[in-house]
């Protein structure tokens, strides 16, 4: 069913080289207007309970059906409880939203992985795991972190509810063409267990800023990217939106093809698709990017955010910068930094490793895959968390949870006094009961440290899973490069 899209990728003999993004864009144009805006065909539409109810309501009011229910998949992740799922959902508004998605999927014939499904999980974790995410496809979801799927060489865009309704009704979207942005990640990390994909993407955002990618689709390239596993690549692409980009993607390679081989919804003609992807899904050597940034990763350190946006980040070995140092003369940035320090109750000059934490959250679509939990467990094994810390692990999906349990990771975390919970978005965005209390400080593997994101008055520091695990043990941030990571 998706074949038409792939076949159209075959080059048409135009002279100038194209970027991977431009190839995918061109092969999905249904109609085009002068100077760029195009009606783009959507190969996969992922749906969750929070941004879809009004869209389905709109279909009903206008007596429309879902054009391609077979290309639409839904799950519930944002406000599902992560405690015992045999119990009823106490929050009535959450219960209603979850029931509404069940009814909408029933009425419109959409496949749903519901709260009791073995395949339930965060929409951006289950898409790749089930083989729904495929190279060269266009994927949309009413969620900004849809950029995650770009790790497979897909053009994956976050959209809002009006656009969700438009895709449900027409399987297309009117889009202005984003500009291609090359981010080259050069070099090799000395200690890849301690310096992770999360540290790479936080370093990028620290450098280009939270609006550095606005209006662009980022292609991450270079050895620093190809060295990463698929799960690590997802962490990088996931946070493209935190740099303001419309999407982020990585050209598929043998690791990509191997990851998707034999998954539940991997197409039957997979090997012939792989042959075509191998030939076509890469940026031509003479293609032009409109923007370029290079990050050298030989010597980067684990990163810790200190402020209220992901660009406010520094090395674990550094101290919190003064608003003057941070803003480099920009008055707006200086004011933001002052406000951030006030909200975070931190002072300039404080060493990152002197910051004490109350909570640890290992979870979210950024860092709740098997490898994330496995790496964190190596820090935790045989240890106990600091008595002043409450720590939780929220696997990204039921499949991740099962796989982790098969490896005995649940026992490692539970023995260290971590909570081991059911899958969902959880404390990444404070929609379910997993929230910070006002003033609580959290080392979090999620993607956003905005004011109130994890609960009103909560203070978030973004870190990698190993950094979060180490902070849980010590009660404050520590440089994981100095720990034994086996």
């Amino acid at each position: 069913m998706l074949l038409a899209g792939y076949l159209r990728i075959i080059q048409t003999g135009i002279k100038m080289g194209k970027t991977l993004f431009e190839k995918i864009w061109q092969s999905h144009i249904v109609a085009e207007r002068q100077d760029g805006p195009a009606l783009i065909y959507v190969d996969r539409h992922l749906v969750h309970e929070v941004t879809s109810p009004q869209a389905f309501e709109g279909l009903r009011i206008n007596d429309r059906r879902v054009r391609r229910p077979d290309l639409t998949v839904a799950t519930m992740d944002h406000n599902v409880p992560t405690s015992n799922r045999m119990l009823p959902i106490l929050d009535q508004t959450s219960a209603v939203q979850i029931q509404t998605l069940e009814k909408n999927c029933r009425d419109f014939g959409i496949k749903l992985f519901d709260i009791n499904s073995d395949n339930q999980g965060i929409v951006h974790v289950i898409g790749p795991q089930l083989g729904i995410t495929l190279p060269g496809t266009t994927i949309v979801c009413g969620d900004s972190h849809t950029s995650t799927h770009g790790a497979f060489g897909a053009l994956a865009l976050g959209i809002g509810t009006s656009d969700v309704e438009h895709v449900l009704a027409s399987q297309t979207l009117w889009l202005e063409k984003p500009r291609p942005f090359e981010i080259r990640v050069k070099g090799k990390r000395k200690n890849p267990h301690a310096v992770t994909a999360k540290d790479i993407i936080l370093s990028i955002i620290k450098n280009i800023g939270t609006d550095g990618g606005t209006g662009t689709v980022i292609e991450y390239r270079g050895q620093g990217v190809t060295d990463l596993s698929m799960e690590q690549r997802m962490t990088v692409c996931n946070m493209s939106i935190e740099a303001g980009a419309r999407a982020g993607l990585i050209a598929p390679d043998e690791k990509t093809f191997e990851y998707l081989r034999g998954r539940k919804y991997t197409p039957d003609d997979y090997e012939s698709l792989v042959d075509s992807w191998r030939d076509n899904l890469r940026t031509d050597s003479d293609a032009k990017f409109e923007k370029q940034f290079t990050l050298h990763i030989d010597d980067i350190a684990p990163q810790v955010s200190w402020g209220t946006n992901p660009g406010m980040t520094c090395d674990v070995t550094e101290s919190i910068p003064s608003p003057d140092e941070f803003s480099k003369g920009n008055s707006g940035q200086k004011k933001s930094a002052e406000k951030a320090l006030d909200y975070m109750a931190l002072e300039s000059g404080t060493a990152i490793q002197d910051i004490k934490i109350d909570r640890v959250f290992i979870g979210s679509c950024t860092n709740a895959r098997l490898e994330d939990l496995l790496e964190a467990s190596k820090i935790v094994k045989g240890q106990k968390i600091s008595p002043s810390v409450r720590a939780m692990v929220v696997p990204g999906s039921q499949m991740v949870k099962r796989q982790a349990e098969e490896l005995g990771l649940d026992k490692i975390f539970l023995d260290a006094n971590f909570e081991w919970r059911e899958s969902g978005c959880s404390m990444c965005l404070g929609m379910n009961p997993d929230i910070l209390s006002p003033g609580e400080r959290c080392a979090s593997t999620s993607n956003r440290n905005f004011e109130g994101r994890q609960g009103t008055g909560g203070r978030t520091h973004l870190v990698s899973p190993v950094m979060a695990a180490a902070a849980a043990i010590c009660g404050h941030f520590v440089d994981v490069r100095e720990m034994d990571l086996r």
């Binding site: 009606l39 929070v50 508004t93 809002g160 438009h166 707006g332 965005l429 404070g430 004011e451």
Partner: protein
């Protein structure tokens, strides 16, 4: 021509989590969502906003989540346009596609020259913003062709490309 008072937040990166915090995304009633607009940044917003007001802010307005509740909350509070140095793209498209409010990109001159509480008139046809309080006039960045058409049609569903 639109005319209204300005509520100014002189900062960059106002994110959708402060425009409408996550715990309110379960609410379906737009009037009730509006009560919590800007709550994460300015708890007094709901009591001071009037119908027809504008929000003015710095760079990267509406960054973060794709929640359409953000333009909905502002729009149903009475805000008809957000004037900012730049916008995050998902917020921008949500505002336009759902016909909730106008996202208007302004220059540094307008950002500096318009203060909290000023009365402002916006003339989309001429791409002009007049600060009635001070008498100064500024240029706004024109909408792209397709965005202008979606706005004129009253949202993405009302936009008929065959009419081009």
């Amino acid at each position: 021509m639109m005319e209204g008072n300005v509520i100014k937040y002189a900062q960059d990166n106002i994110d959708t989590d402060v425009i409408i915090p996550g715990q309110y995304l379960k609410i379906h009633d737009y009037a009730e969502i509006a009560i919590h607009a800007m709550e994460g940044l300015d708890p007094d917003f709901h009591s001071k906003v009037s119908k027809g007001d504008f929000v003015l802010s710095g760079k990267n307005f509406g960054c973060g989540s794709s929640r359409e509740h953000a333009p909905i909350a502002l729009s149903h509070s009475g805000i008809t346009a957000v004037l900012a140095l730049s916008f995050a793209r998902i917020f921008y498209r949500n505002a336009v596609d759902g016909a909730f409010l106008l996202p208007i990109e302004i220059g540094q001159d307008a950002y500096d020259g318009i203060s909290d509480g000023d009365r402002v008139a916006i003339d989309i046809a001429c791409n002009e913003i007049k600060n009635i309080t001070t008498g100064q006039t500024y240029k706004m960045k024109p909408f792209s062709e397709i965005i202008g058409k979606i706005i004129a049609a009253g949202g993405l569903f009302a936009y008929n490309p065959d009419g081009d």
